[in-house]
Each structure stands twice: as C-alpha cells, then as structure tokens.
C-alpha cells in the first residue's frame, strides 16, 4: 500500500495585524484535526519549519503596500495551486487603505522622523489587484469556521458554503430585532456581506461593515435612510470609510458623502 501524502498548506503575510492567520491557531478544537489532513508546510507565525512548494493551498493575509511586496506576491502565486486571500486587508486593502484617500507622504511625516528610510507605495491594495485569486474570504477578522469550511470544501472538491447575501439575513435568522428600525441606530447590515453571525446587532450595536460589501449593495438607499435619521454627511462618510474603505461600493459611497 502506498502512503498518501497530505496536501501542503502555506500561510503568507503582507501588511496586516496578523489576526486572520491567528484565526487558524484560534481553532483550538479543530487545529490538530486540520493537521491530520493537511501538512502545515509554511506558516512562520507557528513554525520554524519550511517545506518547499508548490503548495496545494495558500492563505494570503494582508494588503500590498511596498514595492517589494508587489513583487513577492507574484512568486507566491507561481508556487500555489489554490490561492485564497483572507481578511479585509487582502480582499480590500484593509484599514491601511485609508491612506489611499490622502497623500501617503503626509502620513509618513506624521509617524516617522526619517521619511527617507521608509519604502512604501501610494496605495494599499488588495491581492486581487496584483494576481488572480481563487477565492476571497472576507472579514476583519475572518470567521474561523468559514476558514475551516473553505479548507474542508477544497479538500473534498466541493463548493464552499459561504454566502454572499447581507448581514440582515443572518440577523433575521437569529431573531434579532432590527436595531435601525427599533432603536434608530445606524447600521451597515443591509449592504454588508454576512459571515460574522450578525454580531454587532446582537450586542445592541449597528453593523460597522467589517465583512465588506455584499453582492450588489444599495449604498445610496442606505445613505438616504441615514440622512433621514439626521446623520451628518461626514459621519456617513466615515461609516463607509473604515476596514473595507477601498472596496469599490464602499469607496464610491464614502466619496459621495465627502465634502
């Protein structure tokens, strides 16, 4: 009998907070089971061991913000069979894409005494802008159960069960009373992709859009409702402009409320 080799999994990091790759280590109940079926071949945050590619699954965290990283991502694509960008940084440019609305030089000067030492691009951009991506897993951070579902589905040759409808659907299913209708709390749920389990509304808070835009979001309609709720344009602009600020529907929405 021949010994079957396990598929190789690699984790790559670009500009990010490390939270999405940490999600894998946060799968306390599932981690050892995952390592039974895949070989952790390159995951520097967890291991010194580096096994050479090509890799069957590559998880890419973070956004592209430096000339060096814009080169590195191509090498990773060439050595990866199934490449998934994970989290808002990798799928939309992340919170650091707030630089895209300003001149990055102004930011460098605020943070660093010797701007000449800093090599950075003008924009923070998602992985998809640089290479073909096989799947995008949303969230700031990602939902660890969606990550396991994605790996599981891929290993078994089926489509992952990861919906692209809005947070509202999840919210209704959980039986949560709409925070916008009942309490007048502005909520990005109608335009945000599901995946978190309608977390914020279940904590008496409006959704702040960390899973990014749903399919075909009607941001203009939501913006008009927010205006009717006496929300100021600057506040609506800021609501659309956070962890997924550079995702196109949210970018256009925030720009339309910018003075």
């Amino acid at each position: 009998m021949t010994k079957k080799t396990k598929p190789k999994l690699a984790v790559w990091k670009f500009a990010s907070c490390d939270g999405c790759q940490l999600s894998l280590l946060d799968c306390e109940d599932e981690l050892l089971a995952v390592t039974e079926v895949v070989e952790i071949a390159n995951f520097p945050e967890a291991s010194r061991q580096v096994i050479k590619g090509p890799y069957d699954i590559s998880l890419v965290e973070g956004s592209i913000t430096t000339p060096h990283d814009a080169e590195r991502i191509h090498k990773i694509r060439r050595t990866s069979k199934f490449l998934v960008s994970i989290g808002s940084c990798a799928t939309a440019g992340g919170i650091q894409a707030l630089r895209n609305f300003k001149n990055v030089k102004d930011f460098i000067n605020v943070v660093y005494a010797n701007p000449d030492f800093i090599e950075t691009l003008n924009k923070s951009t998602p992985i998809m802008d640089h290479i073909p991506v096989d799947f995008e897993l949303r969230g700031c951070p990602i939902n660890k159960y969606q990550l396991i579902e994605l790996i599981n589905a891929h290993l078994n040759g089926r489509k992952p069960n990861i919906p692209t409808y809005s947070t509202c659907i999840e919210c209704k299913r959980k039986g949560i009373v709409c925070v916008m209708v009942s309490k007048g709390i502005p909520c990005l749920g109608p335009v945000t992709q599901a995946g978190c389990g309608a977390l914020c509304p279940s904590y008496n808070r409006g959704c702040y859009g960390c899973f990014g835009p749903k399919e075909t979001p009607n941001t203009a309609s939501l913006g008009a409702i927010c205006q009717n709720m006496q929300m100021k344009d600057a506040d609506i602009m800021r609501a659309f402009r956070n962890f997924n600020a550079y995702a196109e529907p949210f970018r256009k929405a925030s720009e339309s409320y910018e003075k």
């Binding site: 490390d18 010194r48 919170i95 943070v111 010797n114 904590y203």
Partner: protein, 429 residues
C-alpha cells in the same frame, strides 16, 4: 582575522515580520540588529479626523493578538480627555476582558511559540505528536481565555462590544457563572504550566535591565496605575514623553524607545512581575517561588515561567471577578467630548502600551501617538543578542542562530504592533 555573520532573514513563531543580524569579528560581537521590515501602516496618520469614539475599533486593528489592549488604552485615554472615569462593575468587566486576553496571548506564546525552543521542536504541532496531553491542555487553556474575550467582547479577534465609556451590552450574571468551573480548572492548568516550564533547560544568562511597568496601589496592574521603573522612575502617564523617547533607525520600520536618561529598558511580564510581585495572589507567589524564579527574575529565558505565573494570576483574578459580579444597570457611561489632550497606559500582554490623543470640542481626533510594547523592547532585545552571542561564540552557527531566535522570542515580540515589524542575520567576519 576571522569574521562572520549570523543571519535569520525571517523569524518564525513571532507575530509579524522581522529578522536578525549579528556581526562577529575576531570573536567580538560588533553589531546586533533586530531588523523590522513589517510594512508600516501609519495608524497615527489616519486617526486624524476620525471621531474619538472610533479609536477603540480602529486601533484594535494594529494587532490581531492583543486587540483588547488597544481598545483599553484608547478608551481610557478618551475618557480621561473628557473627564470621565468608568467605575464599579463596568471597570471589573474590563479587567475580566483583559484577563481573557492575557490568558489567550500568554498561553499561545508559552506553548505554541516558546516551549518548542526549549524542547527542541520546530513547532507545537510536532510537539503534539510526542506530548499530546500537554498540547491539548494548552489548547483548552487558550480557548478559556478566548471564550472570556468572546463572551464579553463579542469575538476573540477585534472584539466589537467594548466602547468608550464601557460596553454596548453587558452580560448577565448567569452567563458569567458558566465560567466558574472552567476558571477553577484554569488555575490548576496554570499551576501545571508553571511546573512544566520550570523543568526546561535555561541558559545561565542574566542582564541588568531597567524594568518598566505600571504599578497600582491595590492590584496587579492591568488598566491603570503609575509608571514605575526598577531605576527610580515613578510618574503619571501624562509625563511619559518627558522620560521616554522614540528613535527612528534605518533597520526598523518600528520606532525604538529608550529612557532619555539611560537608554534601553524592558517592559512586559518580567518587568511587571519584578515590580509588582507583592500584588500577586498568594497562590501565584508561592508557585513562582517553588518554580525557583524568586521575587526577582533577570534571566529573559525564564520569562516563560513568569508568563505562566501571570496566566495563573489572570485565571485567579477572572474567577474573583466572575464570583463577585453584579450586572450593572447601564452598559456604558455617557460621554460628551471636549477639547483636551489625554495620555493613558495599560498593560498589554507584552507590556506597557501608551496612547495619547488630542481631540477637539466635537470629538474629532487632531493628533494621536501610540507606543506599543515591542518598540519599547527592541533595544533590550538587541542588547540581549549582543551579550548572548558574546558568551556563546563556541556554538556552531546553526545552534547559535537558534539560540538567537530564542532570545528574540523571549520577548514574545509583536511586530505587527511595533509598526504599527522583525528579520536575524548573524554575520561573522
């Protein structure tokens, strides 16, 4: 003349991207650098123009491992700016949330990032093959910390429930009661962790550090206290920048902090432990003494025992809070913004986390400054490397490189934090 360089391009089992480079010439260490190449993200830049209430959600994204620390420092700073103090059970809930993060972060580091060095494994997954019970205990203890953060914060990473003034929603008594038995188990598991880490082989290596941490009159420090040091500093957070400064060096996208008067210093578990031993609960003091670290620990490799002791503290403290919990009537204190500048420090798992904000009457952030623990420890790490390599020049390059990596991991560096970044090169010329 013999010279060489010991170099690690990409350090493993640390959070974020960094490396190290040590240059040796004629058996003398000529240079030791912690290279930090994590791409900068400019948080202080884009906080300008945001609302004061947004700071906890935005700054949490500096670090996926210790988001609670950023939420706590920023919330307290904003409350201080607006002249509000959050007290009673809301204050206790914040301490409980922080205990959850300490448990989750410390256990991750002890078992998954640090222990494999002492036991000669590449990672915890390989460790699990030989010591399944140990790794399973670790995962269960880490999960306990995460479960606390998830209950109070909404989720483990980037919690959504904390806000300036308190929380969006507070848990009922019965929800916290569920943690009584798990936390009692957590205390036992922490005691086992202290005993296990005490059996690890430790190099004979001590340094004369200046330890810096918070100190509080009645408690082991989490969210508040004066900033004290083992060399006589005793100040309020607002005076931090009078005593400490940051430098921008070419090999690091993280700024390096130092005590203006003296140079490098150390923050984190060892500093807290040495400066607050008397505030630990009896059970933690006794376990630490039995583990042989004494009331003062100066061997950075033994920080793993200190982390285990702090995990015990966190479980013990969490249990006290849970047992004495009374659901507050209101989940948060209303806060009206006013023009002010405020400073606050809390104790992130890796050490002192300083935030300063200036806001205007409308609550718009005009200026922000954030100094995370890893940028404060960079110089101490480089000093450790210099001395450690100097004492171990007879080791093979491979062993010396691993030893250096381990010395960096002693600090549980969070490079994502520090740039708001790390890379080892040992050069022998």
């Amino acid at each position: 003349m013999k010279s060489k360089t010991i170099k690690v391009d990409y350090l493993a089992r640390v959070e974020g991207e960094g490396g190290l480079e040590v240059k040796i010439k004629d058996n003398e260490v000529t240079d030791a650098k912690l290279n930090i190449f994590e791409p900068p993200r400019f948080f202080e830049g884009f906080l300008r123009g945001r609302k004061f209430t947004e700071a906890p959600d935005i700054t949490a994204r500096i670090c996926g491992i210790c988001p609670v620390a950023y939420q706590m420092s920023s919330s307290h700073a904003m409350e201080s700016a607006c002249g509000v103090s959050v007290k009673g059970q809301l204050r206790q809930l914040r301490r409980l949330l922080y205990c959850g993060e300490w448990i989750e972060s410390h256990v991750l580091h002890i078992y998954m990032l640090h222990a494999p060095d002492f036991l000669g494994y590449q990672d915890a997954i390989q460790l699990a093959k030989d010591y399944p019970d140990v790794v399973n205990r670790a995962l269960k203890l880490k999960k306990l910390g995460n479960d606390i953060v998830a209950l109070i914060g909404g989720r483990e990473i980037h919690p959504i429930n904390p806000r300036v003034g308190g929380f969006y929603k507070v848990p009922g008594k019965e929800e916290l009661d569920k943690f009584v038995e798990p936390l009692k188990w957590g205390i036992e598991a922490s005691l086992e962790t202290i005993k296990l880490t005490a059996t690890f082989p430790f190099p004979d290596f001590e340094q004369d550090y200046e330890f810096v941490s918070l100190r509080h009159a009645d408690e082991y420090p989490l969210n508040e206290g004066r900033i004290v040091s083992s060399k006589g500093i005793d100040i309020e957070a607002k005076d931090f920048l009078d005593y400490f400064e940051e430098e921008h060096v070419q090999h690091s996208t993280s700024l390096q902090a130092k005590v203006k008067a003296r140079g490098h210093y150390l923050v984190g578990p060892m500093a807290r432990y040495n400066l607050n031993f008397d505030k630990l609960p009896e059970i933690a003091r006794q376990a630490a003494i039995e583990a042989g670290i004494g009331e003062e620990c100066r061997n950075p490799f033994k920080s793993i025992i200190v982390r285990a002791t702090e995990t015990l503290f966190a479980c013990h403290e969490a249990l006290q809070i849970v047992e004495n919990y009374d659901m507050p009537n209101r989940p948060y204190v209303e806060i009206e913004p006013r023009q002010a500048t405020a400073h606050w420090c809390t104790e992130a798992p890796r050490g002192l986390l300083y935030h300063r904000y200036s806001i205007d009457d409308n609550g718009i952030i005009k200026d922000a400054r954030i100094i995370p623990p890893t940028s404060q420890n960079q110089k101490a790490v480089e000093d450790d490397l210099r001395h450690l390599v100097g004492k171990n020049l007879d080791l093979s390059d491979e062993d010396l490189t691993w030893k250096c990596e381990q010395a960096v991991r002693n600090y549980d560096p969070c490079i994502s934090c520090s740039c708001h970044f790390l890379k080892l090169n040992i050069k022998r010329e």
